[in-house]
Symmetry: C2
Subunit: 508 residues, 2 copies
Amino acid sequence: MSIQEIKGILLEIKKLGSIGSLLHWDQETYMPEGSGDIRAEHIAYLSSLAHSKHTGKRFHSLLEKIVDMKTGEPLDKNVGAETKRLYYLTWKDHRDAVALPLEFVEEFSRHGAKSQQVWARARQQNDYEAFAPYLEKMVQLKKQEAEYYGYETTPYDSLLDKYEPGMTSGRITALFDELRGPLIRLVQNIKNSGTEINEKPLTQSFDVDKQWEFGLEVAKAMGYDFKHGRQDKSAHPFTTSFHPTDVRITTRLQEDLFKTGIFATIHETGHALYEQGLPAADYGTPFGEPVSFGFHESQSRLWENCVGRGKQFWEHFYPILKQYFKKPLSGISMEQFYRMINTVTPSLIRVEADEVTYSLHIMLRFEIEKKLINENLPVKELPEVWDQMMEDYLGVRPSDYKDGVMQDIHWSMGGFGYFPTYALGNLYAAPIMNQAREEIPHLEEKIKTGDLLPLREWLLEKIHCKGQRLFAEELILDLTGSPLSAKPFLDYLEEKYSEIYEIKRPRA
Amino acid sequence: MSIQEIKGILLEIKKLGSIGSLLHWDQETYMPEGSGDIRAEHIAYLSSLAHSKHTGKRFHSLLEKIVDMKTGEPLDKNVGAETKRLYYLTWKDHRDAVALPLEFVEEFSRHGAKSQQVWARARQQNDYEAFAPYLEKMVQLKKQEAEYYGYETTPYDSLLDKYEPGMTSGRITALFDELRGPLIRLVQNIKNSGTEINEKPLTQSFDVDKQWEFGLEVAKAMGYDFKHGRQDKSAHPFTTSFHPTDVRITTRLQEDLFKTGIFATIHETGHALYEQGLPAADYGTPFGEPVSFGFHESQSRLWENCVGRGKQFWEHFYPILKQYFKKPLSGISMEQFYRMINTVTPSLIRVEADEVTYSLHIMLRFEIEKKLINENLPVKELPEVWDQMMEDYLGVRPSDYKDGVMQDIHWSMGGFGYFPTYALGNLYAAPIMNQAREEIPHLEEKIKTGDLLPLREWLLEKIHCKGQRLFAEELILDLTGSPLSAKPFLDYLEEKYSEIYEIKRPRA
């Protein structure tokens, strides 16, 4: 059977990828500082092995026996829907793997490495002009890449598809249009509410060892399986998986950044639960993969925001937290604490943004990416566009490039199409959480007692264990009975923050 | 050029091996306990990839263009000595890789895994009869393996060759014959000396964090490069290398086992210095490899015993150690401490044996391995032979199997031929250390001041950076001008221990 042999090769490719992930994990956690060169070589070798298996004659000749190589449709018209989808995803991955000429991949990889270095230095020196030529070239390369991959409507769609399969820029534009106005208004209402929340107590000294312990306690309560996972420290928190039985998270703790540390752990644990819940039996096939980057983000944000920044959660955990941090939290009520972890402040930096303003940061990046890739916006005009949009969306204006247009690493690496997935994560998370509330009896009461496992089980059953059997929007529809919209997320924010900031809401 | 292409494939094989070593390292240090199955699968996959590259048609057809496939001699008679050797080693590795039929490799691997499990359980229950059939089968498999590999004199030589290339059992027998009598006499003299050394103070409580710090300080002084290495904790100390720029050691510390901890660190650092010193430019070719298992062991033992258990070393480090451990070492003089770390006590357990009795443990295993592989000693008679030899060699007799014939894991895994390399390490180390003393001006004085780098540099230049360009005995001859003999090791032991145990030595 052709498909069995194809699955055999896909399994090899997956193993090489998983092994590469371990090398990455080690690089970010324990690798000695002087070992970077050989590590890069080892990782590149694993990639090249995987790539050559995927693009080899053998794979092609097996695949063309079962699908129409132009469309990915099965040649046997009698196969079931699931098999049809498996064939299609397999064909699509293969099509993408063979789409880029080797010379292009090499040029891209060289330029990406260089461009990232230049960005890091230029950012430090607040020197946009030094970076601009590299960004210019990167934009050209990505346009070329889009041409190689092909697309139906705009080149940007082709880049987006690599992170969010099945999603188009037209669809995201519509969703973001739905979101923009109400979000800007909400931020305005919060600003005008007159309510001021003093969050200074959370920047006192919180012992990092205790932060570590408390984080582990929360991760355990969320159902993160430490027999098949672990937490380590790294410069930037991340989650990585080598298989559903070995999924690891990292965190970064700092004495005066309590909020950052705990929400990073909850966020990464959300990602990790998804990876631990993927169907191990499908390891190596497209069905063993997560739905999309945005869907992955929905899992981390559901736990971080809908659960972890919720009042019910802290009804159980705040008394425990107070045991860990008697001194810094003395005299601070649960209600005060809840407000302190939910302050909203329009600011310049995306990664420090709160739950309300975060999506605005993303939306302006999305608009800019479309302009760069589809509409030939000159790179030299980018800072002006950026600053103006910051003003329009968030009411703040950067005074330099460092904390403005040059703040993120993504564009220097050519990661166009990645940003929107962060905001999609929010949009997916809200209806999923609503659905969980409907289906899990007394969910809020359970969360109040620290019993988070019913939610973890529900997510496992409804989402995680399905792997990539459905695209993101199909899964949302399947799960909630309604098509994806920005409304659940907006409703969630308005309700929560109207209460926190005591905003008078117009009667419905 | 055929050889360039061959080197390309060898480099790929080496990379796969190095990556596999990282997977092993992770397994012993940080891997979650429930992730063993997928890890085993990933490691096995890397091995199979490497094996198929080594045994593939492409490699064979390249190789036969440059060497006589029957002998490994270069077809071009004009190549230089080094190239000739490179060809020979390349041919030999390939010959060994293709020698074993796939079914045999699989059977061996299956039986090895099973046999190891049975050994572990049977050992706990002191049940030799349960283990015997598995050992019996293992011996048969190893005999078969020897036939596949082929040999000149005895089947055991073929097994030995995998650990100690160029060494024969005849040669080791001669060396051990030289060693046996004097060693047994020395142990007897020590016993009869009447000197008793109380080493109880070293089993007091030594804070493990401080042990860790002190170990790192010593490793640094030895020249271990922490920019390209690190120390972690594991159940059994080991050294592993992914490239000369990434060489890692592990240790195991216990409050009441100060001696074990520090000498494990020094021992592993000795191994690590060798790996860090191997020629990076030869990474992937046989010249980038260490000489042999025995030679590797010579580096760890030279540092552990000749340096680390020497008086000069502690002249510098004992005052530092006393700063770390004021309480347990209070009132203990440097001279007392020196004796406590050099006690000699014939005992049942190899891994706990001192520098004098250690080789006797090895020699009896070597004799038994020859009997099993070459002389058809029935496995059921093994315990009786073991106990009798323990009595003859060490004057002690096991009262059970657990601490007798079943104490080591090696035979259960089929590691016949491995043991002798431990004792060869001692034999190599002694003349190397003598030579270092001759060539490095004021070496002893330097060691007394903690200046260990001249020795590290000398070993680097004379041994490490040469990789596998010479066989062990060639290298000893080259280095010292004399063929390998047991005399330097014996002289070293007699001088050191006659002083420690105040033995009257007959006048020369």
